[in-house]
Amino acid sequence: MQMPEPRADILTGRARIVERLRAALPPGAVIDDAIELKVYECDGLAAYRCPPMCAVLPGSTAEVSAVMRICNEEGVPVVPRGSGTSLSGGALPTADSVLLGVARLNGVLEVDYDNRFIRVEAGRTNLSVTGAVEQDGFFYAPDPSSQLACAIAGNIAMNSGGAHCLKYGVTTNNLLGVTMVMADGEVVEIGGAHLDAGGLDLLGLVCGSEGQLGVVTEATLRILAKPEGARPVLVGFDSSEVAGQCVSDIIKAGIVPVAIEFMDRLTIRAAEAHVAAGYPDCEALLIIEVEGSAGEIDDQLGRIIAIAKAHDPVEIRESGSAAESERIWKGRKTAFGAMGQINDYMCLDGTIPVSELPFVLRRIGELGAEYGLDVGNVFHAGDGNMHPLILYDANKPGDLEKAEALGADILRLCVEVGGCLTGEHGVGVEKREIMTAQYGADDLEIQMQVKDVFDPQWILNPAKVFPLEVSAGRRS
């Protein structure tokens, strides 16, 4: 992975730029100490690191605006950051950039149950949005596994999803409005407490734009009444093909579970070794969760189990209590961490049409064997969003590059079968160079023209999303 050369003219102006930022912000909001900057040198894709020129932690929309005004005048790249959990390097700085962290913007501005929305500052963590309303029986639906740490700002930038998005949709389906600071410091309000756009759907464009169109400082989010209850069933199979078929049959039967999660043998074993969740040792397992009252749950699980039984499962375990539900979910929720116990890993995020699941799983196995690397699969099966985990050894020279090459092959495979490079983690720097596998020259050009409209100087997170060569003219 390459990053552009830092611009010498910016590096030489560092002292002046830091001074200007200090003058515009309260004490303590500008960080330029090399040791303190280490915190910001990478995000969740920790294989790539680079400290920024300095970091700023504004405490209000007005302060964000002041920062953008200065950076725009100086032509300095700005890398917005929420909590830094991105898995695609979206928040990775360059040496000539100002890292703009919104973590201090974490307040709740308005809660409105009659109209079912909450307005928060964008640095607030995902889980604490639900935390602000759950005592009154409401929740915020998108639930990325990183929800304890990740910020709404990052969720909006990456259009994040979660285990329950099969029923509730991803961030873009639950976002009503934003306050955003433009590249030149102007503050814009898009959307609000109403449900649809009055003109062009700018909100739909901003969501998923990876910090390249503006800095989001506030968000209006839809909240929903919590269901009366939820309960999973775990089903084990001795072939992933059959597990995939079972997923298809459930969906075709018109049942809408809130989640259908898939784990393969490698991740099942890793999870067992890590948390002893009591999973069967089999080729593939599904965790299927439904919601409703006790009677509604029984009804739906009954139908799902009947479908599963027709596929000759090696085990069916229906949860009968909160403790059992927790145990069923435990292995899934800690699967990434469990894989991390075995070795370093790279987490991919391609989406495929669910009908292609068996073929793609087989091909991933074959590709892994060709490269001599193990690949585990744990993912959201209901919507085809795969998370192949490539195990490699960061200390072994050449292993990272090998894993990168295998990853690119797997993502190309996803595109070939009709899917896409990334379902929820974003392009960032990780998938930037293979965007051409999915999009032609005009498809990329028109997206870059959108950025031209929002950020004519290309100072917002410029080295992301688009292949470096393709965006070179605009970044210089």
Binding site: A193, L195, G198, L200, D201, G254, D383, G419, M435
Partner: protein, 381 residues
């Protein structure tokens, strides 16, 4: 000009200076009247339908009726419940899927399932320079690059001409039922809808109709869909907690009530109809203020109040624009003049006028997608 392929469309746009009026089925003649040659989209047909993957890929000119029939064959549907504008506008023709997406047309289920834009997962289109563009795909989760599909949804053919769309579809429920209360004023009706929508019982329709709209008395309606036992359970729960004494209508009777709301059928004879998208709890106050400002009107509230259809008394010179837009200024949201004689639509802003940075961004996008300004020029203002 009748267009039968994407390539032909690209060449037509590249080779001409327009202006063009982009037409699907011609059933949604909304917006400022556009002067220009009609581009009639003849590309029709389903390219891919995978019921088990809940996905459908279809050419933009495909009649909606054809799609709905094919989906019904597999027990599925377009869950965003697109309105049939012919009923209210009195237009003729066959609605196409391209028109549905381009106008982001959603019905009562929007509050629970989402809008057309939420179900649009991929698109191909030809922009104003004649470039053939694809964005998104045919999978439900996709953050690969910017989401131009959302931008195209609701752009009314002003940024590009859709040639193909990919949609997420959902299963039809086993059954549906509606709880109905009569005689509530708008404030109490909307408050009851808010209580129902704030309950865990998964409401898929929440509407209030002023007296005189669907009958002499007002009606407040709440819809539930799903497995039969679950629908029964939730009716019981709602009657116990929120909807004590409400009448229950089931099956076809329930469906007819929502077709009426979806198509705003009660305003079929009204010469002027506005569509307001606002914060739900603000709507009773808006209606009251309009009355006080001398704008006699009837109102139909969908989306728990968040979508307000207003038919003003016809004598107002501006169709009520000044009074209505003053309310938007006070409460937020936006108002669109969906139905009016062409001369009125030519005189006033049909879409909510935009200001400041939002207006500049919208202009900037139009300039990039259609630099010559030849696609539906002026339609959105």
């Amino acid at each position: 000009m009748k267009i039968t392929s994407e390539q032909e469309l690209a060449e037509a746009i590249r080779g001409a200076n327009g202006p063009f009026r982009v037409r699907g089925g011609g059933t949604r003649d909304i917006g400022k009247p556009v002067v220009g040659e009609a581009l009639e989209l003849g590309m029709s047909g389903i390219e891919l339908y995978e019921p088990a993957a809940l996905t459908l890929v279809v050419r933009a000119g495909t009649p909606l009726a054809e799609i709905e029939a094919v989906l019904a064959g597999e027990g599925q549907r377009l869950a965003f419940e697109p309105m049939d504008h012919r009923v209210m506008l009195g237009t003729k023709g066959e609605p196409t899927i391209g028109g549905v997406v381009a106008a982001n047309v959603s019905g009562p289920r929007r509050i629970q399932a989402g809008a057309a834009r939420d179900f649009a997962i991929g698109a191909r289109f030809v922009d104003g320079s004649g470039r053939i563009i694809k964005n998104g795909g045919r999978v439900m989760k996709n953050v690969t690059g910017y989401d131009l599909v959302k931008l195209m949804a609701g752009s009314w053919g002003t940024l590009g001409v859709l040639t193909e769309v990919s949609l997420k579809v959902l299963a039809m429920p086993e059954t549906e039922a509606t709880l109905v209360a009569r005689g509530k004023d708008a404030r109490h009706g909307i408050a009851a809808l808010a209580a129902a929508l704030g309950s865990p019982w998964d409401i898929t329709g929440a509407a209030h109709l002023d007296p005189g709209v669907a009958g002499p008395e007002s009606e407040t309606r709440v819809r539930i869909e799903g497995l039969a036992a679950s629908v029964d359970y939730r009716i019981g729960a709602l009657q116990r907690e929120i909807c004590a004494g409400w009448e229950v209508l089931r099956g076809d009777e329930s469906a007819a009530l929502w077709r009426q709301v979806r198509d705003v059928a009660p305003f079929a004879d009204a010469p002027v109809v506005w569509r307001l998208s606002v914060k739900p709890s603000a709507t009773p106050a808006i209606s009251q203020a309009l009355g006080q400002a001398g704008l006699g009107h009837a109102a139909l509230y969908d989306w728990g109040g968040g979508l307000m259809w207003i038919a003003p008394d016809p004598e107002h010179d501006d169709g009520g624009a000044e009074a209505i837009r003053a309310q938007i200024a006070a409460h937020g949201g936006h108002a669109t003049l969906v139905k009016a004689p062409a001369d009125l639509r030519a005189r006033i802003d049909v879409f909510q006028p935009q200001t400041g940075a939002v207006a500049a961004l919208s202009r900037g996008l139009k300039q990039k997608f259609d630099p010559r300004g030849i696609l539906n020029p002026g339609l959105m203002g």
